[in-house]
C-alpha cells in the first residue's frame, strides 16, 4: 500500500535514520504518533468510533460502525452461536489509487485481517452470548469500517477504532419466553425491547485485543510507521495481543523481504510490552471519558460523542 | 555427434517458433505429424476414476497432454414444478489461465462457454434426470459437474465428455430421505449407491488442417491452423448421438463418413479405458 514514491536519497535518509534509532518526525523507533479516539458518532449504529493516528491533526483516519441485527437461523448454520461480519472500505478520498476498483485488493486484505482478529474466541467476544434462541434466532454484529485518510499504519488505526467501537456497543434487551402450544411441546418466542434507554453493553469487551504493527526498515524495525516509512519498509508484521497478554493473531505482510527468526522473537516480546502499556493507557483514558460522558448525560443534546487524545 | 544432434533440435525449435504453420506443413506433406502420429491416429486415453474424496463423483482424464478433472458435487433442492421427478445436472467447463495462456483470468471465455453448453446438451441426451428424484415434487438431487482443465493441448471436448461419463459412473449418492414434517432431507453416507449413466458417450474429434489434411484428435498447435473441425459422438450401442462440423473448411460427405467410421473404432479404445 505504498502510495507515494520517494527518491533514492530520501529512502536512504529514512533507512539510515531508523538504523541509528532516529525517525524523521523525531519519534523513537517504538513510539506512536498521537492517537485520537471518538466514540458514539453514528446515532443509528449500536456502537461506533473514529480513530485518527497522526500528529497535528493529519493522519490515518478510520471510522467504524457496529450494527447489530437479529437473524433467523437457517439449516446448515451453527446452532447456538451468533456471528460477526466484518467489512472494510477504503474511500477514494483517502488516496487517489483507491478510485474505482483500485481499493479492491486492500479492502479484501484489511477485511480478512479484521475478521481474523475480531471474529472468533480470540476476540474475547462470546459468540454464544449472541445467540438468542438456539436453532431459531441470533445476533449478527456487522462491523463496517471506512478508511477516510491514509498516512501510514492503517492496520493499527483500524483495530483501535474497531476496539473502541465494540467497547461502546450496546445491544437492545431481548425478552425470551417459552410457551406451550396446543400439542403441548414448548415453543420459544422472543421480542426485542425497542427502548433506547434499555440497552445492555456487549459482553466480553474487556478481553478485546489490541494490535501493534511493526515495519522492517533496513536492519531495524519501527512501530506505527509513517507514510514515508512505509514506502521504504520491506516487510510489515502485525501482532494482536489480548489484555491477558495472549497472542490473538499474527500476520506478516509485504512482498519484498522476510524476517530473520531472531528479529521475530524480539518483535513478539516488544509487542507484548507495548501492548501492555497501551492497553492501560487506552483503558484509563476510555474510562475517564466515559465518566465525563456519564456526567454530561443529564444535560440534553450534548451529542454522545467524546474525544480521547493520547 | 550428440552435440550436433542438440544443435539440430535447437534449430528445429527456433524454426517452429518462428514459422509454426510452415513447420507443421513440412510434416503433413510427408504424410506424418509433428508428434509422429499417423493422420487418423488418436492420442492414448487414460482415465482415473474417483480420485477426489471431496466430490461425490470424480474422474481424471488425460488425452495425450490434455488433462481435465471432472468433479461432481451433489446437493438437494426442490424440483421444477413442470418436471416434479427430474433433478438437475449443471455441467461447466473451466478453462483457466493455468491450462493455457490463451485464456484470461475471470469470466469464462467464449470457448469455455461453448464447451460448457455443448457438453451440457450431450449430457442431457445421455443422463436420465429422473434417477435423481428423492421425493416427487418435493426434493431432488442437484448435481454440479465441474470439468476443470489442467492442461489444454487440443481435443478439450473429447476429454471433457469422457471425464463427465467417467465421473457420472463413479458418482455415488448417499441414501436420502425427506422428512415431510420439516421438509429437510437427511442423507446417510454409509449407504451410498451408484446412479449410473443412462448410456456412455464416446467422442472423437477430427480436424481439417491447412484446408488439405484430415487428422484425428488434433493437438493445440494443429488446432491453431485447422480450418474445420468435426466432432462425432457415438453411444455404447454404436448409434450416433452427435455430429458437429464447424469452420468454413470443406469436408466432403465421403470424408465425414470415413471419420464416423474411424470414430467407431475409437469407441472401443475409450471403452477399454473406462
Amino acid at each position: 500500500m505504498a502510495s507515494l514514491i520517494l527518491s533514492p536519497a530520501e529512502q536512504d535518509f529514512i533507512i539510515r535514520g531508523v538504523e541509528s534509532g532516529l525517525r524523521a518526525d523525531g519519534r523513537g523507533s517504538l513510539d506512536r504518533r498521537e492517537v485520537s479516539l471518538r466514540t458514539g458518532m453514528i446515532s443509528q449504529a449500536n456502537g461506533s468510533a473514529r480513530c485518527r493516528i497522526g500528529n497535528l491533526g493529519v493522519g490515518t483516519d478510520v471510522l467504524v460502525g457496529v450494527k447489530a441485527e437479529v437473524n433467523t437461523w437457517a439449516p446448515g448454520e451453527p446452532e447456538d452461536v451468533g456471528s460477526v461480519v466484518c467489512n472494510v472500505e477504503c474511500s477514494p478520498s483517502a488516496a487517489q489509487e483507491f478510485e474505482g476498483r483500485g481499493a479492491e485488493e486492500i479492502n479484501v486484505e484489511l477485511t480478512q485481517l479484521l475478521d481474523r482478529i475480531f471474529n472468533g474466541p480470540q476476540s474475547g467476544i462470546d459468540l454464544k452470548k449472541l445467540c438468542i434462541i438456539p436453532k431459531q434466532a441470533y445476533w449478527v454484529l456487522h462491523i463496517d469500517a471506512l478508511v477516510l485518510d491514509v498516512k501510514g499504519n492503517i492496520v493499527d488505526t483500524l483495530v483501535w477504532a474497531t476496539r473502541a467501537a465494540l467497547l461502546s456497543t450496546s445491544l437492545p434487551r431481548v425478552v425470551v419466553e417459552t410457551i406451550a402450544d396446543e400439542m403441548g411441546n414448548m415453543q420459544a418466542e422472543f421480542d426485542v425491547v425497542d427502548d433506547p434507554e434499555d440497552l445492555t453493553p456487549l459482553e466480553g469487551t474487556e478481553r478485546l485485543p489490541i494490535s501493534v504493527t511493526f515495519s522492517q526498515i533496513g536492519k531495524r524495525y519501527v512501530v506505527d510507521a509513517s507514510e514515508q516509512e512505509e514506502a521504504v519498509a520491506q516487510a510489515r508484521i502485525t501482532v494482536a495481543v489480548s489484555p491477558a497478554m495472549e497472542i490473538c493473531a499474527i500476520q506478516k505482510g509485504g512482498i519484498l523481504r522476510g524476517f530473520p527468526p531472531s528479529l521475530l522473537s524480539e518483535i513478539l516480546q516488544t509487542a507484548q510490552r507495548i501492548a501492555r502499556e497501551e492497553l492501560t493507557r487506552f483503558g484509563t483514558h476510555y474510562s475517564q471519558a466515559e465518566r465525563q460522558l456519564a456526567s454530561q448525560a443529564e444535560e440534553p443534546n450534548t451529542g454522545s460523542t467524546f474525544l480521547v487524545t493520547f | 555427434m550428440a552435440e550436433s544432434g542438440q544443435q539440430v533440435a535447437c534449430a528445429m525449435q527456433t524454426f517452429e517458433r518462428l514459422h509454426p504453420t510452415e513447420f507443421q506443413r513440412r510434416f503433413l506433406a510427408q504424410n506424418t505429424r509433428h508428434d509422429g502420429r499417423e493422420f487418423m491416429q488418436f492420442r492414448p486415453v487414460q482415465v482415473v476414476k474417483g480420485a477426489i474424496s471431496t466430490a461425490q463423483g470424480s474422474a481424471t482424464v488425460r488425452v495425450g497432454n490434455t488433462t481435465v478433472v471432472c468433479g461432481i458435487k451433489a446437493e438437494v433442492c426442490e424440483p421444477d414444478v413442470k418436471r416434479p421427478t427430474e433433478g438437475y445436472l449443471a455441467t461447466n467447463v473451466e478453462l483457466s489461465p493455468m491450462c493455457s495462456a490463451q485464456f484470461r483470468a475471470g469470466a469464462p471465455s467464449e470457448e469455455a462457454q461453448v464447451a460448457s453448453e455443448h457438453v451440457h446438451r450431450l449430457a442431457g441426451q445421455m443422463f436420465d434426470l429422473t434417477s435423481l428424484c428423492i421425493e416427487s415434487g418435493r426434493a431432488v438431487w442437484s448435481l454440479a459437474a465441474d470439468i476443470v482443465c489442467i492442461k489444454h493441448d487440443g481435443g478439450i471436448l473429447d476429454a471433457a465428455v469422457v471425464a463427465l461419463v467417467a465421473a457420472l459412473e463413479d458418482l455415488r449418492l448417499p441414501k436420502a430421505e425427506l422428512d415431510l414434517g420439516t421438509g429437510m432431507v437427511s442423507a446417510d453416507r454409509t449407504m451410498a449407491t451408484h446412479v449410473g449413466v443412462g448410456k456412455r458417450l464416446f467422442p472423437a474429434t477430427f480436424a481439417l488442417v491447412d484446408d488439405a489434411y484430415v487428422v484425428a484428435d488434433a493437438d493445440d498447435s494443429e488446432e491453431r491452423m485447422a480450418t474445420a473441425s468435426l466432432l462425432v459422438v457415438h453411444d455404447d450401442r454404436g448409434r450416433l448421438v452427435n455430429v458437429w462440423k464447424r469452420g468454413g473448411g470443406m469436408l466432403s460427405s465421403e470424408t465425414i463418413a470415413r471419420c464416423v467410421q474411424r470414430a467407431r473404432e475409437r469407441m472401443t479404445e475409450i471403452a477399454q479405458t473406462l
Partner: protein, 262 residues
C-alpha cells in the same frame, strides 16, 4: 451455498440448493491419536512433479514452468508465466502476481464459481510468502504470474502451505532467479498440544492455527500467520516447530529438484 447466483456465462443449476443433513457423524479427531495414525509432528507424505504443464514443443500459450504437488489428500497444480511484458513499462523491479482458485469440488462444501474474498486473500498471502524469494530486481519491467488451482483441499492452512511449496517448485522449474526456494508448513493447536499439518477434520476441532513459510538456507521467515489465541510461549514454540517442519519439507523439495537436473 444457500442460494446460487444466476451466472449467464455458465450453465446454472436450480435457484436454491442445500447440502442434505448427513446423519452419519464424522469420527472425532484425536479421540485416540490422529485419524490417519500419524505422529503429532508428522507431515503427510509429499509428492512433487515439475513441468507437467510445460509444452513438449515451444508454443507461446504454454507456461514457462509448472508443478503438481500432493500432500496427503491435498492436490495443487500451478503454472508460471513469465518473465513476460509487465503492466507498468518503467518499473525498476519486476512484479509478481498470484491467482489462486479452488476447483468448485475441491472442498467438503460446494464453492461458487465466482471468486470469493477468501481466495483473493490467499492469493495475496502467496504473493507475500513467495515474493521475498524472487530476485525481482533481476526482471525490470517484467511480470511473473503464478496461477494456482486447488484440485482437492484438506485443511485450509495446510492447503495454503501446499500452494506455497507448489509455487516455489514451479518457479524453480521455470528457471526464475531465486534467493532460495520457499518451504511452508502449518500447525494447529488441539488443547495445549501443537499438531503438524492438520487435515480439515482436525483443523475444525482446533482452536488456533499457525502458518509459517521460510527460506531455510537464508534463514528468513517469508510469511507468518497465526489465527486464534495462544500464549506467547506457545506461539514461539510453534514457530520454532513449524520452522523445523519447513526444513524437512524443504529437504524433500530440494531432493526432488536435484533429481530432475540429473
Amino acid at each position: 451455498m444457500a442460494s446460487n447466483v444466476f451466472d449467464r456465462r455458465r450453465i446454472n443449476g436450480p435457484q436454491r440448493s442445500v447440502e442434505p443433513l448427513y446423519t452419519a457423524k464424522a469420527a472425532e479427531p484425536f479421540a485416540n491419536g490422529r485419524l490417519d495414525g500419524r505422529a503429532l509432528d508428522q507431515v503427510r507424505p509429499i509428492f512433487i512433479k515439475t513441468g507437467p504443464l510445460d509444452a513438449q514443443s515451444p508454443s507461446a500459450s504454454a507456461p514457462s514452468g509448472s508443478a503438481y504437488y500432493e500432500q496427503g489428500k491435498i492436490r495443487v497444480s500451478c503454472a508460471i508465466y513469465g518473465p513476460r511484458q509487465g503492466r507498468q513499462s518503467n518499473a525498476r523491479m519486476g512484479s509478481f502476481d498470484c491467482d489462486f482458485k479452488y476447483a468448485p469440488f475441491s472442498c467438503s462444501w460446494r464453492l461458487s464459481h465466482i471468486k470469493s474474498s477468501d481466495e483473493k486473500e490467499i492469493a495475496l498471502m502467496l504473493e507475500h510468502a513467495i515474493g521475498p524469494a524472487i530476485r525481482l530486481e533481476a526482471y525490470p519491467k517484467a511480470s511473473i504470474d503464478a496461477f494456482v488451482t486447488v484440485i482437492e483441499s484438506d485443511g485450509k492452512a495446510a492447503t495454503i502451505a501446499a500452494a506455497i511449496n507448489c509455487i516455489s517448485a514451479a518457479l524453480a522449474d521455470a528457471g526464475i532467479e531465486l534467493y532460495d526456494s520457499v518451504a511452508a508448513c502449518s500447525m494447529s493447536m488441539y488443547g495445549t498440544q501443537w499438531v503438524s499439518d492438520c487435515s480439515q477434520a482436525e483443523e475444525n476441532a482446533s482452536t488456533c492455527s499457525l502458518l509459517v513459510s521460510r527460506m531455510p538456507s537464508v534463514d528468513e521467515i517469508t510469511y507468518l500467520l497465526q489465527h486464534g489465541k495462544t500464549t506467547p510461549e506457545m506461539t514461539t514454540q510453534a514457530i520454532q516447530a513449524c520452522s523445523n517442519d519447513c526444513t524437512r519439507v524443504y529437504a524433500v523439495i530440494c531432493r526432488y529438484l536435484q533429481a530432475t537436473l540429473e
